[in-house]
Subunit: 111 residues, 2 copies
DNA sequence: ATGTTATCTTACCCCGTGGTAAGATAATAA
DNA sequence: TTATTATCTTACCACGGGGTAAGATAACAT
């Protein structure tokens, strides 16, 4: 009943805008708040900042300060380790799915 | 802006009760609605039914009818294939994380 | 046929939260 | 110092959605 770490992770990942922020940071890191906000023309900077605060307190990104700017980077290792316990529950089923995933990645590389 | 398949997936996975339903179905399938509802003493059957309908329309579980009972099973292959496109975006980062995941699974088997 | 059981449907409440706007804070510039 | 820029904070609104309760359906029992 009381929310655990996995609950917090999926709650954070539930929002499309936050996942898109992660996508952008995966493609290019680091970025400051205004650079990220520029990628979302129909959103306002404070909203992006709020999402980033959430992502940071969830530990999926980390921020360093340069002057007055907060510079965000993806923490992919943290993402993987937060996700692992949940994925592990279904190992029994998608042991083959991981193979398939690896295959997808290899197919991608060939293009 | 318009929601895509990944948005729908994470929206469905966002709710802790729905993930727990998936957990139960991973542990034991198939189960009918009342059997599943019995696992959630502080929730009412109609709520569980509603969640199951959501999971079914998201394609993560499938239901067969036996008399007047709807019998639900986990569709782990579907889960994996829905999750793969998103996971694939981060392959570059957690190529090693997949190894780590496999390692976790192997450690589990030893116990 | 009626009664009963299992599930779905509908309507409703209410809390959480994404989004915005405006003010506060902090750091650079002049 | 003052002005400006970048970010955070706060307050607020509005919508979505989880949860419940009660009614509707459908299938079996008698």
């Amino acid at each position: 009943m009381r929310p655990d770490a996995t609950d917090a992770l999926f709650k954070i990942l539930a929002d499309p805008t936050r996942r898109r922020i992660l996508d952008h940071l995966a493609e290019q890191s680091p970025l400051n708040v205004t650079q990220l906000a520029a990628k979302f023309p129909d959103l306002v900077t404070s909203g992006i900042s709020k999402h980033l605060m959430g992502l940071r307190s969830a530990g999926l990104v980390h921020a360093t300060r340069d002057g007055r700017q907060q510079i965000y980077s993806l923490d992919a290792a943290a993402m993987a380790s937060r996700l692992a316990p949940w994925l592990k529950k279904y190992d029994r089923f998608w042991g083959t799915a991981l193979e398939r995933l690896r295959q997808l990645a290899e197919d991608e590389e060939k293009e």
